[in-house]
Amino acid sequence: MTTTSEPPLQLTAGEQLVRPSTSLGVFSRPTGETGWKSWLFTVDHKRIGIMYGAAALLFLVIGGIEALLLRLQLAVPGGNVLSEDAYNQVFTMHGVTMVFLVIMPMAAAFANYLLPLQIGARDVAFPRLNAFSLWCFLAGGIFLNTSWFLGGAPDGGWFGYAPNSGLVYSPSHGMDFYALGLQIAGIASLVSAINLITTVLNMRAPGMSLFRMPVLSWMLLVVQFLLLFAIPVITVALFLLSFDRLFGANFFNVEAGADPLLWQHLFWIFGHPEVYILILPAFGIMSEVIPVFSRKPIFGYPFMVFSGIAIGFMGWGVWAHHMFTSGIGPVSVAVFSLSTMFIAVPTGVKILNWLATMWGGRLRFNTAMLYSVGAVAMFTIGGLSGVTHAISPADTQQTDTYYIVAHFHYVIFGGSLMGMLSGFYFWWPKAFGYKLNEKLGKIGFWILLIGFNLTFGPMHILGLQGMSRRIHSYAADSGFNLWNMVASIGAFVIAAGVLLFFWNIGVSRRRARGSPPVGPDPWDARGLEWMTASPVPTHNFDRDITVTRQDEFWHRKWRIGTDGKVTRIARAEDVAHDGSATGVHLPSPSYWPVVVALGLPLVAYGLIYNLWITGIGALVILGGLYGWVFEPPDDPEDHGHDDHHEADPSGEAGNGANGGGASGNGEGEPADGDGARQLAAAGTSGGPVAEAQP
């Protein structure tokens, strides 16, 4: 889009990163590439991804400690580690933390870091909104966790069933924190979904058609669509709950004619797509890792993609299987029973395809591969126990027992978390320039796998024996003693495995100093993200990559002869960009996303405690948006005609902030042209598409 006088292989571009911010902006934009400020104000999708990952790991520790408390309490009958009330808070926060503050942001970490790289883009479509998503998520997570110090955490379960979560049964402020905290995290997810979908649709490298995208990109795209459509449903449910609790509305007031099933329906209409939001990113990661370490292309690529899409669609038609025993009537039960069995089909397709990918491959069992294979195996167990819930008579027995707890830990821990750990080991060298130690990694894997099965395997038995979920203690003569003890021991084994992972990071980081860099492609991998230096330079790629087929990078390294023999035609180092391009115009950092995100928890605190604080929060948001608007334009060429547009979002989100009423919109606001417009200009000029050189 810029000049043609540049040498052909040079990125065009732009002016220097730091440019005189003249007349137009009221505020200058932050500069500098190192130091904490450069992270706080960054709009770089890679840094944002890394921070998402770090935050997720931090919350993993918090949620893990909560899990250990639960297992300590249940290790022996009549445990007295936690009071009943504390137990309710701990299991609620364990669930909320693991679902919303660990798995989802971890997936967002991979999405942010890898999605633009895999499609050959230079950043996301709306970099500042991307930063806003991160801070907004973090604000929500921290807000939720401050409830521990402000009169008690949420205690109504992660599913928050109303009216149990209403004022009558949950009088502390805990569930207010739950409703408002998840609302804030939801805004982050929605904004991020809009941003990433736009990125995938609009910013692919030349030749990168949708069906040349890696499976991970596909799965992440499906997840973003699920978020796009599922978040508003939980938004409404949470608003209704908040209005009931804060303003005395009657949505869940059974005396006034309300029906407890209303919450259950709304929550699970969101909740079941949410299940796939949790698992599909891990499926994508496994689909990247397994081919690389099997030295074969993914088996049945179109089937992998279509089954992912099918899961996304069908995930909308199975929600009531969470409610088989809630009294929804025989017809509903039969219908949802059937649809639930159907959804096992595309999932099975995926499992078979992973196995077929490995079949006949030259397998290398690196840590990443071990975690992926482990995830496939554990997920299969969880999937099979899931099919047993689809059969409603059996489910009637299993509902609210530890069998269910076993099931969803096998899919979410065994599937999602293990898949993501695989991703950590696989992409670590790409993000940080050094590999994680393989030996420690493998030991850690086996410890984790054994601990995991020790913990959750016995829960199948406990559940079938009739042990209820969420009970605070059990009698010594219930017959639950042995397996509870085993599960508790297992939990500490898991903790050891997780600690080893953190220790591995420290050790590997220390050893990496002074040792040679890993090079762009340490695993002989296939995706475009490996086609640039490690760690990835700020501008991602030195030049545009023209994609001619799936697994473009691999095909540039290897040739498949007519006899089927594979011969190397180039070294990865020769194919990959070395990151030396200079003068690439990139979006400038910005102060304002973090300011706007800061205002949201203030608004939420105010709704709970004092409306004046809400007012202050609203002012912070308005001020933040004002700053956002009057920030000097990002693109030096863009002076003058665009900067004012962002006035609109300020109005919009400002209103959103002003109270429940409009916050549905506050969420949307990013989509609305303005905030985005200038970004778009920056995004495109920063993006490869715009900079295509003949």
Binding site: T3, T22, L228, E652
Partner: protein, 213 residues
Amino acid sequence: MTDVADPTPAVTTPTDAGHAPPAHPPTTTGLTHNKVAMWLFLGSECLLFGALIAVYMFAKSRLPAGEIGPNDVFDIPFTSVSSFVLLMSSLTMVLALSALNRGEERNFRIWIVATALLGGTFIAGQVYEFTVFVDLGLGYTTNIFGSAFFTLTGFHGAHVTIGIVMLMSALVASLRGRLSPRNAETVELIGLYWHFVDIVWILIFTIIYLFPQ
């Protein structure tokens, strides 16, 4: 300052000549990021308002007999007029965009003001309606119908209000000479949002007000 359609960048170099942002930045789909994002957002909003309308229908069906309900408060002729007002604001909105596309700044401003005024009239009508309802004894906490009705129409009203703020921003931008046919897309996006809010009201008007109670 009024007819600066294309403020010249401070640093004009020869290479800048071919550098004016194209009406549609080169993207994979040929569509702008903003418009894609806007439609995604509107798709998402369908689920939001769908849920609110469904909750309303459910709540109405569970309203205990004898409680103050729709029949006791709705004033159809009044609401018909305000619905018509909002509907016509969609017309003025498209006329505004169409004027801007032709570069007729004056007409653009007239139509944008008209749109905002019609929207404001609608909101005023809603506020009036709310106060009448409260006087009739239907408050937010009175019963399940009251909670659902005020929440649904309140959410819609908040959307309209935000729309008005955006329209006013566009007006200010135009007065400061910063809107031209080239960046009419901003107005187009505001328009999309505005029309969306209008179609939500089309649904609400029929389902909430006109359906036999």
